[in-house]
Amino acid sequence: MNYRMIFKSLGTVLCIEAACMVPALLVSLIYWQGDMVSFLLSILILTVCGLGLRQIKTVTNDIYLRDGFAIVAFAWLLVSIFGALPFLISGAIPSVMDALFESVSGFSTTGSSILREVESLPKGILFWRSFTHWMGGMGVLVLMLAIMPSVKGNTLHIMKAESPGPAPGKFVPKMGQVAKILYGMYVVLTMVEVIFLLVGGMSLYDSLIHAFGTAGTGGFSSRNASIGAYGSVYIEIVITVFMLLFGVNFTVYYTLLKGNVKSILKDEELRFYLGTVLVMIALIALNIKGTVFKSIGETIRYSSFQVSSIITTTGYATTDFNLWPLFSQWLIVLLMLTGASAGSTGGGMKCIRIILLFKIIKREITKIIHPRSVQTVKINGSAVDEEILSGIMAFFFIYIAIFAASTAVVSLDNKDMVSSTTAVLSAISNIGPGLGIVGPTGNFADFSIISKAVLSLCMIIGRLEIYPILLLLCPTSWKRVNI
């Protein structure tokens, strides 16, 4: 591996993180709640470390796939560690592991919290907590690609490692351009949401916090009762719509901007995603009507918000679905597994993989009926590479395997079955709340340090879609001569 180049890139990432802390610093200056020093210190530490790493002289600038994966994995670990500094220095979260958990949960856009109560925290700290969602949603390294002027050819590897989905592609020739367009659309959509929330009577500060939470599909709120605290149907509708919008593949928006509406309507993943949302809303509404809520309006209101929140892996809550019937709870767990579209800011296994897995099964069955039939799996009319298909099957297995192994560790805490499994599932799928004690009204504070560490790792593994972190854990990738 090209270690010099890897660490030099990490230096740039840290400098960018320092710059990203400036808005939070400004907020802390405005509200003057004594958290300003923690940001100044963090920015200083980040800048010193970042500029220090940038001084490294590189022998060659060549990076290959493994270097790209290593850059992404290291960057996320470092960014999360440094992102915990303001929490620690300000004393908002005194324990190191808790601060780290909160920071990882922010960057990986999970939105799980160890805080029992957030409203008493300084506004600057809360702003930073939500801003990490926004950075993590589209990706810290994509941001680097977007703002660094000279992007080399093989930075595609970095993009590949950070962007979710089985085969992230380009829609314009230049990588830097792709990153700029992605961030451009991201910023515009976020701003539109802020405006809508302002119209609904939210304060500017709260609008920003919740727009960041929605855009990154994270789920941190500045209120203890999350969105439910506002009790406003308008705000719930706005957030529902935007959660769904951020769960759509961003290339769809680019195609839309190009005026190609026809091909979007035919996009299989988009259809599957929206179809799943509608079916799940209907099923849950039927199930909870009469048992939890009385009127049709209320059932639709709560089921649609909750379904959107879970499928996009945001994790905002307006009601406690722990109180729902078992069938609805199980549907929620299914949605946790599915996740949003590839190329969106959401987490989970991604719709496209689920579609392809079903198509693979269909092909297997046809093979039994017609043993000598030759078939290709198609998506949007064009054949999918066999390599990608086997990659997806391997991904599915490793996802489940990591889920099982992590649950084993977490179950050492001897909590109940539902809480332990959904806690891990919600971490690896970057959702936020689970069921049981980690439900919408609960939090992760009661878990042991080991469980919190495992869950933190699960969040990063889930956000980076497993392989970059696995690469770091594989000893051969560290050796200079790797055979």
């Binding site: 050819g153 595609l156 380009k170 829609f171 020739p173 230049k174």
Partner: protein, 456 residues
């Protein structure tokens, strides 16, 4: 500029590499997913799998808003159809690679009817390049500017040359001031020299000037220039055909060794006065019986790099003065030069150079037209010929007062029939052709060579 390249072969890849480095938006179309994978992973370009002839694929590549389409697939006909379709769909310019000699005579008709803006024939280009090398044997490389009125010759300095240990300003005084040394390669380091530069043994120097003066200069510094009278060509492909034609114009006798019987017969028809020998060119006994040792030059131009290399080394062993080998894989030429082969010619590299020159010219439609562009010293230095515009930044200002960027050298000014090796008091006038040697830089316009940042 938005550029579409159809065909991701060696030329297509090399073009994509260079054009994306020059900050163009490059899209590659190819049917072969394997080839695209390499380009997609190593270059900052967009790849589309499909047939470049299909309008659907071309539209997917946004052909209507692209400035240039380059068709370099292996099939001439496909290239032509691609260009025709793209032109109808509204692309700005088209370049096609057309290599079949059958089409060569109908090029002007094809160009007009298909709306082609440029046609490139790699074999013909390679043939003319080899012919230039044979014309002037001491040169490792010869490039021409201003329609042949200025040449740049690459020469390796040996112990017995008179220039060893001399400063450039002394060389100019003692031998000739009408040529200029534009770039020097010393142990893998490229230097754009000034007057204080001292020439040493084993340097590779690039001499620029009027062909006759360069020739004189070489003789004066003690290079033995002996005219080549007979040449043996190994391989009777298309390069051989074009090369034979060029060499015949220069009154040089040639002998072609070709392994394929039918091709031999064909060659006797298209090259009536040439000696064609049927046999394996890598067979030592055959070459010996055809008295290889007595040849002045040996050119290995079969389709296989390995055969070319082995035979070239064999010829060197037998004491042939000038040995040229054609190598298709781009990256190996430096290694092979190190093994003792005098010259390495790469048709794909030449093709890429021609097209790059056209692209630069297109880009400069507003600025200065590019007349010639050569990449030398393994791509690290460029020699470029530009026509001066009317910008006040450099016109009519004595060169010594111009603040020229580091790493750029004004090598020659061609004013109508006058060829000026510039000195401090010379000026650039509108319409002059200016030849620049630049290191680590891509000059697009003469204005770019004026250093505005640390001026005065």
């Amino acid at each position: 500029m938005k550029i579409i390249i159809i065909g991701d072969g060696k030329v297509g890849y090399s073009l994509a590499e260079n054009l994306s480095k020059e900050n163009h938006d490059v899209t590659i179309i190819d049917k072969n997913a394997e080839a695209l994978k390499k380009a997609g992973e190593n270059l900052d370009v967009m790849c589309i799998k499909g047939n470049g002839v299909s309008t659907k694929i071309l539209l997917e590549a946004e052909v209507q808003s692209s400035d240039l389409l380059i068709a370099v697939t292996s099939s001439d006909e496909m290239n032509m159809v691609c260009c025709l379709t793209a032109k109808k769909l509204g692309v700005g310019h088209t370049i096609a690679r057309i290599r079949d000699p059958e089409y060569a005579s109908e090029l002007s008709f094809l160009k007009a009817e298909l709306g082609l803006d440029m046609v490139i024939n790699p074999e013909q280009a390679a043939g003319s390049e080899i012919a230039r090398l044979i014309k002037f044997p001491p040169a490792v490389n010869v490039e021409i500017f201003a329609k042949g009125r200025v040449e740049m010759v690459e020469i390796e300095v040996t112990q017995d040359m008179a220039v060893v240990g001399m400063h450039l300003k002394d060389i100019a005084n003692r031998f000739s001031s009408s040529v200029l040394i534009g770039a020097v390669l010393r142990e893998n380091e490229v230097i754009i020299p000034d007057g204080e530069f001292e020439v040493r043994k084993n340097d590779t120097i690039y001499i620029i000037g009027r062909p006759s003066r360069v020739y004189d200069f070489c003789i004066r510094i003690g290079i033995h220039v002996q005219k080549i009278k007979n040449v043996m060509l190994m391989g009777g492909g298309r390069v051989a055909y074009y090369l034979a034609k060029y060499l015949k114009e220069m009154d040089i006798k040639i002998k072609i060794v070709e392994i394929d019987r039918d091709r031999c017969t064909e060659l006797t028809e298209i090259l009536p006065d040439t000696l064609i020998i049927y046999g394996d060119g890598s067979d030592e006994t055959l070459l010996k019986s055809e008295n290889l040792g007595d040849m002045d030059a040996f050119v290995a131009i079969t389709g296989r790099d390995e055969d070319n290399l082995i035979s070239a080394l064999l010829a060197k062993q037998y004491g042939v003065r000038k040995v040229v080998a054609k190598i298709n894989r781009l990256s190996h030429s430096e290694i092979i030069r190190g093994m003792g082969v005098d010259n390495v010619v790469n048709p794909n590299f030449i093709t890429a150079n021609y097209i790059l020159r056209y692209v630069r010219g297109l880009q400069n439609a507003m600025g200065n037209p590019v007349n010639a562009l050569y990449r030398i010293v393994g791509d690290r230095v460029e020699a470029i010929e530009l026509t001066a515009g009317t910008s006040k930044k450099y016109i009519d200002i004595p060169l010594k007062k111009l603040n020229i960027t580091k790493g750029v050298l004004i090598a020659t000014i061609v004013r109508q029939n006058e060829i000026i090796i510039p000195h401090g008091s010379d000026v650039i006038k509108p319409g002059d052709n200016v030849i620049l040697v630049t290191k680590d830089k891509k000059v697009m316009d003469l204005e770019n060579i004026i250093d505005t940042e640390n001026s005065r």
